[in-house]
Amino acid sequence: MKIPMTKLTVVSESLLREELLKMMRQAGAKGFTITQADGEGSRGVRATEWEGPNTRIETIVSPSVADRILDQLANRYFEDYAVIAWMSDVTVWRAKKFQD
C-alpha cells in the first residue's frame, strides 16, 4: 500500500518549538520527527542563540493539511520569526498513520 503524501519540513528558532508543534497538531498533523539544527539565513541574530540551535521539524501529512499549516505559518510566523518551510512529495507505507 504505497501512497503518495506530502512531507513538510519547518526550520525555526528553537524557542518556537512547542508553539509550532501545537499549531501543527491542531492543523491535523499526526506525527513529527524533530532534529536539532544549526542554521544560517537572512537574519543573523537569534535571541536564543546560546539556548541551543534551531529546530527542524518534519511531518508527513496529506496535501490539505500541509496547506493548512503553511497558511498558519505565513500568517503568524514568517514575518516576525526566523522560520522557513519547504514541501516535497514522498511515498509512504502504512498510510492510515498519516490520514487526517
Partner: protein, 317 residues
C-alpha cells in the same frame, strides 16, 4: 585601583578574555551546547542550594527591607533605561522597551562574578542575595513589556510564564528550597560537587560567554556609538544606585557591592527569551549586543570593582 587590577587578573575574568580571543583568532574551539547547558544548570542550582542554606538562617524580618528595595529598583531601572534609550539612544519604542526589559532584569553570571570578587577581597556578602536574584528577575521584564504598549494576545502573559517557570528561575528557586529544607549539615554531603568546584565551573562558563560576547561585538558598529555609550552608562548609574540602596537597607559592604552589580547588570538569558516571544519585532541585534556585548564585560571589568570601592566608601562614611 588595586581592586581593579586584582579583579581583572583573576581566572574568571581571564577565561572570559580567552573566550573572546578564541573568536578573534578564529580558533575552532567550541563548547558543545549540551556541555554549556550542563554548566548553566550546575551554576544556577548550586547557587540556589547555597543561598537556601543561608536563607534558612536569616531571620524573616531582616529580609523585608532588601526584598522591598529589590522590587522598587526592578521597577525603576527599566523606566530609566527606557527613557535614556528613547531620548539619547534614539531607537524605536519597541526596541527601547525590549532593551529596557533586559536592564530591569538581572544577569546571574554578573551576580556570580561579583560574588567571587567580593570573596577574594574578603568582603563577605550577605547570604540571602541569591533570593534577591530571583526577585529581581521578574519585575523588570514586566515593566519593559508594558512599556511596549503591545499587550497583544500572546504578549505579556506568555512571556511571564516563560520567565517564571523558565529554567533559570526554576533551578534557582528549586535549589534554594532544597538548601533551606536540608540545612547546612545535610548539604555537606553534596558540597564536593556543588561548592568546592564552583569557581572552576564558573571559569569554563565564562570561556563560552567570552566566545558569545565576541560574536555580539561584530554587531557593535551597526548599533552605533550612542547605544554603546548607554551600554556603559546604564550599568554605571544603576549599579551605583543599587550599591547605595543596598547599603541603606543594611547590607554588608560586600553585599551592597554585589547588589549593585545585580541592579546594574542586564539579563541575557531570561529576558531575551521572554522578549523574543512577546515582542518579536524588537531587534535582538540591539538588545543582545548591548547586554552581552557591552554591559556584561563592562561590569566584569569596571563595574564590579567600582561598586566594591563605592560600598566600602559608603560604609566608612
Amino acid at each position: 585601583m588595586e581592586l581593579l587590577t586584582q579583579n581583572l587578573i583573576s581566572p574568571v575574568v581571564l577565561a572570559f578574555v580567552l573566550g573572546m580571543l578564541a573568536r578573534a583568532v578564529r580558533s575552532d574551539l567550541e563548547i558543545p551546547p549540551a556541555l554549556y547547558q550542563g554548566l548553566s544548570i550546575y551554576l544556577l542550582f548550586a547557587i540556589g542550594l547555597k543561598g537556601g542554606v543561608a536563607l534558612a538562617e536569616t531571620p524573616m524580618v531582616e529580609l523585608a527591607g532588601p526584598v522591598l528595595i529589590t522590587v522598587v529598583l526592578g521597577v525603576i531601572t527599566p523606566l530609566s533605561a527606557f527613557g535614556l534609550l528613547r531620548w539619547f539612544g534614539r531607537i524605536s519604542r519597541t526596541d527601547a522597551a525590549a532593551t529596557a526589559a533586559h536592564y530591569g532584569s538581572v544577569s546571574a553570571v554578573t551576580f556570580l562574578a561579583a560574588l567571587e570578587a567580593t570573596k577574594i577581597a574578603d568582603m563577605a556578602p550577605n547570604g540571602y542575595l541569591p533570593a534577591l536574584v530571583a526577585v529581581l528577575e521578574v519585575p523588570g521584564i514586566i515593566v519593559g513589556l508594558m512599556l511596549a504598549r503591545q499587550s497583544g494576545s500572546r504578549g505579556v502573559k506568555a512571556a511571564l510564564h516563560e520567565v517564571v517557570v523558565g529554567k533559570s528561575i526554576f533551578l534557582l528557586l528549586g535549589g534554594m528550597a532544597i538548601g533551606a529544607l536540608c540545612g547546612a549539615e545535610k548539604m555537606e554531603s553534596v558540597a564536593p560537587l556543588f561548592v568546592h568546584p564552583f569557581k572552576g565551573v564558573l571559569c569554563l562558563f565564562l570561556l563560552e560567554l567570552g566566545m558569545l560576547a565576541a560574536g555580539r561585538l561584530r554587531d557593535l558598529k551597526s548599533a552605533g556609538w550612542r547605544l554603546v555609550v548607554l551600554g556603559c552608562l546604564l550599568p554605571l548609574g544603576h549599579g551605583l544606585l543599587g550599591t547605595a540602596a543596598g547599603t541603606w537597607v543594611g547590607m554588608s559592604s560586600g553585599g551592597a557591592a554585589v547588589f549593585g552589580a545585580m541592579v546594574g547588570s542586564a539579563s541575557y538569558i531570561a529576558a531575551p527569551a521572554a522578549v523574543r516571544i512577546a515582542l518579536p519585532r524588537a531587534s535582538p541585534g540591539i538588545y543582545l549586543t548591548l547586554s552581552l556585548g557591552v554591559t556584561f564585560p563592562f561590569n566584569l571589568a569596571i563595574g564590579v570593582p567600582l561598586f566594591m570601592s563605592f560600598a566600602q566608601y559608603l560604609n566608612a562614611v
